[in-house]
């Protein structure tokens, strides 16, 4: 019995250390390239105002959708907000805002003060649904096409270059 314990203990240790070794050679920076080309499915997002849900089909109606994760407490989200407002004028693009781990009244105030660029608005109070989209922190944005294939993913606040990039893609 003691021998079995010893051996399994050693195997566990080898495993942990082995993972550490492999982990060292992995790129520690968050890389989104692998996500491009993947398809999003099983969307189930709670509507911001009521208890209805957005599903895949809601987004398949649009030519292009930009999914933007934001919160009122997030300072960089404020920085990118004017750019989103500018993007909202594009006819070929709908913007889905996902309000991340936020309080409703504060989120409302944020939109009242700074304007609402979103065609659809969903909430993710626990931050659980955003995990499915591979969200690491906010703000992050994902551009998808009609088939819900990811065309591009933006980590951090959108910049002017990102915006012109998006406009180029959708037109």
């Amino acid at each position: 019995m003691q021998r079995i314990i010893k051996i399994s203990f050693l195997i566990t240790l080898f495993f942990i250390i082995g993972v550490f070794f492999i982990g060292l050679n992995k790129d520690a920076n968050y890389n989104t390239i692998s996500l491009v080309g993947k398809k999003i499915s099983n969307i189930n997002l709670e509507h911001f105002e009521d208890n209805t849900f957005y599903k895949d089909n809601d987004l398949k109606k649009n030519n292009y959708t930009l999914i933007n994760f934001w919160a009122s407490w997030c300072a960089p989200c404020r920085d990118e907000h004017p750019l989103l407002i500018q993007l909202s004028k594009e006819k070929n693009l709908k913007i889905l805002g996902i309000n991340f781990k936020d309080k409703k009244n504060q989120a409302d105030k944020f939109l009242n003060d700074l304007g609402n660029p979103y065609d659809f608005l969903a909430k993710d109070e626990q931050g659980k649904h955003s995990v499915i989209f591979g969200i690491y922190g906010i703000p992050e944005s994902i551009l998808v096409n009609k088939d819900l294939v990811i065309l591009k993913k933006f980590v951090g606040p959108l910049s002017f270059e990102d915006i012109s990039n998006i406009i180029k893609i959708i037109n």
């Binding site: 010893k6 240790l13 250390i17 060292l24 407490w73 105030k109 003060d113 690491y136």
Partner: protein, 627 residues
């Protein structure tokens, strides 16, 4: 010049370590009971040289000698002298030098203060400690050399990370390092104990003060780090379950378990192999922590000095350490048969250890889980506060109950006669809890449970103090630490329930009202300092109920080198509460975003931790006096 001198000292230190190992092995063969004077002399020289080596680096920072890469990357001529000095250990290379200093000095002090113990045990401890020193010195010399040169010599340095320019953070690493690295000495002692079969209870005696002192400094280091995070990071919290914070907690749990089980080992001669396991585990966890933080394998908000290439060396070193110690442990391990009475002090301390190990494993898994998912499935995830709160918090309530009863239970066997007393105290605690909840109108089952058990521990500890004052057999150290832990949990619980948080966009002259408060942005000023500019907001906060006025001045700082924006919270601390205010600018707008928080009893959270540590120091001095 400085570079050559520094490298010479480092090399000399490696040489001296080898000499010590050689002399120690030679001394083993002699028949006398004393360690030869030469070893003492070389050890003194070794400590002196490593200290000179460190101060050479400090000097390079003070005179801004940018011929050294480390100084160039982490300092700037305009930086205040205090932060130039703190810059010495605010980076990877310098902090490793600090590691080696502590390794060396502890090695020397252990040699001096353990004269009553067997020669072989002391010599093996010295040898193992010097192997560790050599390992780290090689790492410094060939991989992370603080004295490596830069040519041509730059005129100006790159500056220190502005959020590291802070008094709390300047002393945070040295405190934490004494804890982390201090555990090396009982790692070496445990190995030596296995090698020399020194399993007498006096082994506990030889290491208990080293465990205590490293525990005290580790706790202080964690405290100072939390205080820094509280006022510097601007989120209003003090613990974020961030990987870097977690790795500082792991050895802390092991140390706490260790010095409790040491009591049992010393008094009753039980748990020898368990004590050894914990000794080995503590230092292994310290090195693992260093590996996780320094290699960059984990993403964290505050790894300021990380480099994946260096990870390989630390990991190899760690692997070697782990397998050597395990090999030795398995070789020497003998099954111990305990006949413990369920109602005895031994059992309660064992249960305390289970709790510590439970917390340790939970936090360890949460911390390394993202590495596993990344390597195995390729997905990046992070484990956040919800996981830790869900797993750890409910257990805290039970832990506090055990902690209350444990110290009062007798060795070997206790009869159940205090049951009535406990029942009364528990009822009292429940009553006080509901009084608090009723008065302030807030309710959550879990926080109530935790508050009740914290009160149970506090009241019972205080009653004990009163009772033992009469008998004049009072154990101040234990009562202070345990009661303060109860207070800590109580204050954190109350702080959690009764905090208020409000978020507004406000422009100059505007007033916002909510519940009993009104906030007005009265004034904005731009001030220039030697190494940064600051936009300072002046906000008046009025409590409309009491008409009490407070002025808070949060800042937005723009640092020049490197150009960085930081938000400085304004905090007004009083006995019952903190007002916490941060301000950030909104681009292309005259509005500022302000976040106001009322955080009850903050100062008492810090004081509780200081008192817990005070208990530790008290025990340390009591032990030292009794020796």
């Amino acid at each position: 010049m400085i570079s050559n001198f520094g490298n010479l000292l480092l090399s000399l230190n490696i040489f001296l370590s080898f000499v010590i190992i050689y002399c120690a092995l030679k001394c083993l063969k002699t028949s006398g009971k004393l360690i030869s004077k030469t070893i003492y002399q070389i050890s003194t020289l070794q400590s002196t040289i490593i200290i000179i080596c460190f101060f050479t680096l400090v000097a390079a920072f003070i005179i801004s000698d940018f011929s050294l890469t480390t100084v160039y990357q982490n300092s700037h001529t305009l930086k205040p002298t205090f932060y130039k000095i703190a810059g010495t250990w605010g980076n990877h290379e310098g902090s490793l030098l600090l590691w080696v200093i502590i390794l060396t000095i502890f090695s020397f002090l252990f040699l001096v203060f353990t004269k009553k113990h067997p020669k072989e045990f002391r010599i093996f401890t010295l040898i193992i400690q010097n192997i560790l020193i050599v390992g780290f010195l090689f790492f410094i010399l060939f991989n992370s050399n603080p004295f490596s040169v830069l040519s041509p010599i730059p005129i100006e340095g790159l500056g220190l990370n502005p959020i590291l320019q802070d008094p709390a953070l300047a002393i945070h690493p040295p405190l934490l390092y004494i804890g982390f690295v201090g555990s090396s000495i009982y790692f070496s002692a445990a190995m030596a104990s296995l090698l020399t079969n020194y399993s007498h209870t006096s082994f506990a005696h030889s290491i208990k003060n080293w465990v205590l002192i490293s525990w005290c400094f580790q706790s202080l280091g964690i405290l100072v780090g939390s205080i820094w995070a509280y006022y510097e990071l601007g989120w209003g919290g003090f613990w974020f379950w961030d990987p870097v914070e977690n790795v500082s907690l792991l050895p802390w749990f092991a140390m706490t378990a260790l010095f409790h089980s040491l009591i049992v080992f010393e008094k009753r001669g039980l748990f020898y192999f368990w004590v050894i396991t914990l000794c080995l585990l503590t230092f292994i966890l310290s090195v693992t922590g260093t590996f996780l933080v320094r290699s960059g394998i984990l993403n964290s908000v505050h790894t300021f000095a990380s480099d994946p290439a260096r990870g390989i060396y630390i990991l190899l070193f760690l692997t070697l350490m782990i397998f050597t110690s395990i090999f030795l442990f398995f070789k020497k391990y003998k099954k111990e048969n305990y006949d413990l009475n369920p109602n005895s002090k031994e059992t309660f301390i064992l249960v305390n250890n289970w709790f510590m190990i439970f917390y340790l494993i939970t936090i360890f898994l949460g911390t390394i889980y993202p590495i596993f998912t990344d390597v195995i499935t390729g997905s990046k995830i992070s484990v956040g506060p919800p996981f830790y709160n869900m797993v750890i918090l409910p257990i805290v309530a039970i832990f506090l109950l055990v902690m209350t009863i444990g110290p009062k239970v007798k060795w070997i066997k206790e009869r159940f006669e205090n049951f009535k007393n406990y029942l009364f105290i528990l009822l009292g605690s429940i009553l006080i809890n509901f009084l608090i909840v009723f008065l302030f109108k807030s309710y959550s089952v879990l926080s109530n449970l935790i508050i009740i058990s914290a009160l149970f521990l506090i009241i019972s500890s205080l009653l004990d103090a009163v009772k033992s004052l009469k008998n004049k057999k009072i154990d101040f150290a234990q009562i202070i630490s345990h009661a303060s832990f109860g207070f800590l949990v109580l204050f954190i619980g109350l702080n959690n329930i009764f905090s208020i948080e409000k978020d507004y966009n406000i422009k100059l002259g505007e007033t916002k009202n909510f519940s009993n408060y009104s906030i007005k942005l009265q004034n904005l000023e731009l001030e220039e300092y030697s190494n940064y500019k600051a936009i300072i907001g002046e906000l008046e906060i009025i409590n409309t109920k009491t008409s009490k006025k407070n002025i808070l001045r949060p800042e937005i700082r723009i640092y020049d080198n490197p150009q960085t924006l930081t938000y400085e919270a304004a905090i007004k601390t009083s006995i019952l509460k903190d007002y916490y205010l941060t301000m950030s600018n909104i681009d292309r707008s005259e509005y500022y975003n302000i976040k106001f928080q009322k955080k009850p009893l903050m100062i008492w959270i810090w004081i509780s931790v200081i008192m817990i540590v005070f208990g530790g120091f008290l025990r340390f001095f009591q032990n030292a006096k009794n020796n």
